[in-house]
Amino acid sequence: MKLNERSLAFYATCDSPADNTGFLYKKGERHTAYHRRWFVLKGNMLFYFEDRDSREPVGVIILEGCTVELCEATEEFAFAIRFAGARSRTYILAADSQPAMEAWVKALSRASFDYMRLVVRELEQQLEQMRLGSRRRTEPLVPPRRERSLPSSGSKENGCAVWSQESCSLPNGTLPRTSHEGALRPPPLPPRRKPSLGSSPVPLLVPETPFTPGTTTFSQLHDWYGQEILALRREWLESRGQL
């Protein structure tokens, strides 16, 4: 399968923050020998380099739809990145120490796109609640957000499908609040459409599409629900083999 490898290599070596770096021993695919590689965890991707100074990664593991677990292996401080499915493989890695192994397992467990999206959602909702609270609204202006899970597949958020159906939980075991808990809440506000700057650097404190509850109009909400309905309808037609 082709990939835009230059982009991957660029992402691996650019100055966006890495969540963990270090040497790990990686068990070879066909042989039982372990090879020492320099690993860099960025976003939902685990890159590995021949050496710390290498300019390009030798490989990348995309951390979606996998589990990270401790494992029994001939090496001490070993852990596994396990993908489900008949043709998928398991990556066995080994650290130099117990603390290093624990740090890697923790970091890798939280590396998925879904996890990040959960945390963002959680903070969005917190901020939304605070803003509504500060305006002293007694009732929401719009109907409550209904359950958005689609039959037989993962939810679609931010226009992006999720990789797997498994639900994520936040690290201390709490699940994100669903829209059915507590008082009725308005639906998520659609991001404001702005002329885009593409991916050019933006000031860190300003995302490209900030929520601004006070400026939402009915037509924006209408568009939002409309898009959701179109998406559901499309899925329904596809499931009936009509698309």
Partner: protein, 150 residues
């Protein structure tokens, strides 16, 4: 073409899996040839398939990329390290094109990270407390304001 040595592992088993509401088909244009492809956006990757095949031909990582509207129904993706090389996609309508553009611009991990930092900062300003502390993740590198590696 592919460079030898860069191997990519991903959960191939998941790809045959219904993704929920798939964004509609688009056309991949490699001037002057137009090829019809099924395109699927999954997390921060854009997979593309021949329309009758289950395995993708390839994928584009959507980090540090620029999504631009080229014509009313055509958008392009280009990457920061190779800005002149564009991947063109022709959609079936302007509306579909805009939907794709919006979705792709929000699809990167970097975008989510910036959003998270923004919300964290806003909440901290309003409450004086760091909302990430309760999850034990406030020290993680990716959530810090300063993007330079330590």
């Amino acid at each position: 073409g592919e460079k030898p040595g860069l191997t990519c592992a991903l959960d191939r088993g998941s790809l045959g899996f219904p993704f929920g509401a798939q964004l509609p088909h688009s056309f991949l244009i490699s001037p002057p040839v137009v090829k019809r492809r099924l395109v699927k956006l999954v997390v921060n990757f854009l997979f593309y398939f021949r329309t009758d095949e289950a395995e993708p031909i390839g994928a584009l990582l959507l980090e540090h990329c620029r999504i631009a509207e080229e014509e009313p129904s055509v958008f392009s993706i280009s990457f920061i390290e190779e800005p002149d090389r564009k991947y063109y996609f022709e959609c079936s309508s302007e509306e579909q094109c805009q939907e794709w553009i919006d979705a792709l611009r929000r699809a990167s991990y970097e975008f989510m990270r910036r959003s998270l930092i923004f919300y964290r900062n806003e909440i901290q300003k309003m409450t004086g407390k760091d909302p990430l502390e309760q999850y034990g993740i406030s020290e993680e590198a990716r959530f810090q304001l300063n993007t330079h590696q330590a």
